[in-house]
Amino acid sequence: MADLLKHIPVTGGNAKAWFSYDQSGAPAIDNSVNISSITDNGAGSSAPAFTNAFSDALYIAISTSRTNTGTRGGDLVGINCGASDDDNRTTSDIDILVVSPADATSNAAEVDRSVIMFAFLGDLA
């Protein structure tokens, strides 16, 4: 394993952190690499913290969530940029948000889902 890891470049390439998380009840973590904790910030809102930080805040986050076919279609999962559209990536954590989109009868809403999955690619500190 150690010999193999030496050949993975520090820049780019494989995911340097990832997790699978259930926020539908008492939050539970299914699996993770390089994540020390996740902070529940409210409905649909959470913030994983990286154990080994990224070198800068320009890493890439790839995400998905389990959706409910009985509701309004696919959720939107991504960086929580707030009302001012600020980037909330830092080298040590990232604010994420799961939103169920609006339809003809309902506004968009922040929702808790049973499977939230993220992978992060970038340069490590």
């Binding site: 394993m1 030496k6 993770s32 690499v33 904790s37």
Partner: protein, 207 residues
């Protein structure tokens, strides 16, 4: 917000650094490359630990008041079982003071910038408004040093110090700003999640 391309990789942080900060950055970049090449980078230690450890079942959570909004909603930090297992095994993660002493270059949208320690970065971000970019400019100790085996309690404390904002635990407040509670104290019914307040959990803890 968008980042100009010239903030990605390369030598650009040197334009913002002088004196000891510049010397430390040059030394850090050389050391980080060598650590990766030779297989003792912090991330290598984390990846290798998965071959020999099992995640710990974490029994506690840490509700805390959001800094700058003590009367508003609250956050709950959930430590991850893999990280707790790695800390309890020892020899994988750096001592917490090495994390808190990590140096960051923070650049605000208005052009103001500063080099601060990790422990002060959250406060700097809050005081200086939206951040345009940030980069780690000295993380040598995280690669050079490892903490020994910890108890479960010490591992939770390590994660609290790293992941809960220092404004919550480093200052005196008129009332508690955080609590360490059993996970069973966290309600599984989240229908009123945004109305939860820290006082609810203090009562749970006292009970």
């Amino acid at each position: 917000m968008s980042h100009p391309n010239h903030f990605a990789g390369g030598r650009w942080p040197r334009r913002f650094l002088t004196g000891d900060d510049l010397a430390a950055y040059n030394d850090y970049i050389e050391l980080r490359s060598r650590a990766w090449r030779e297989g003792w980078h912090h991330w290598h230690r984390i990846a290798q630990a998965r071959d020999r450890l099992q995640p710990v079942e974490v029994q506690h959570a840490i509700p805390y008041a959001k800094p700058g909004d003590p009367d508003g909603g609250m956050s709950i930090c959930h430590p991850f079982g893999w990280c707790v297992a790695e800390l309890m095994a020892g020899g994988i993660h750096p001592p917490i003071d090495a994390i808190l002493g990590q140096r960051l270059l923070l650049i605000a949208k208005d052009g103001n910038y500063s080099v601060v320690n990790y422990v002060d970065a959250e406060e700097w971000r809050r005081r200086n408004g939206p951040i345009k970019h940030e980069v780690v400019v000295d993380n040598r100790r995280a690669h050079n040093e490892t903490a020994g085996p910890m108890t479960y309690e010490q591992a939770i404390e390590w994660i609290v110090l790293k992941d809960v904002p220092s404004a919550v635990w480093s200052r005196k407040h008129n009332r508690p700003q955080m609590a360490i509670v059993p996970r069973s104290a966290i309600p599984s019914d989240r229908s009123n999640r945004n109305a939860w307040r820290l006082a609810d959990f203090e009562m749970e803890q006292a009970a």
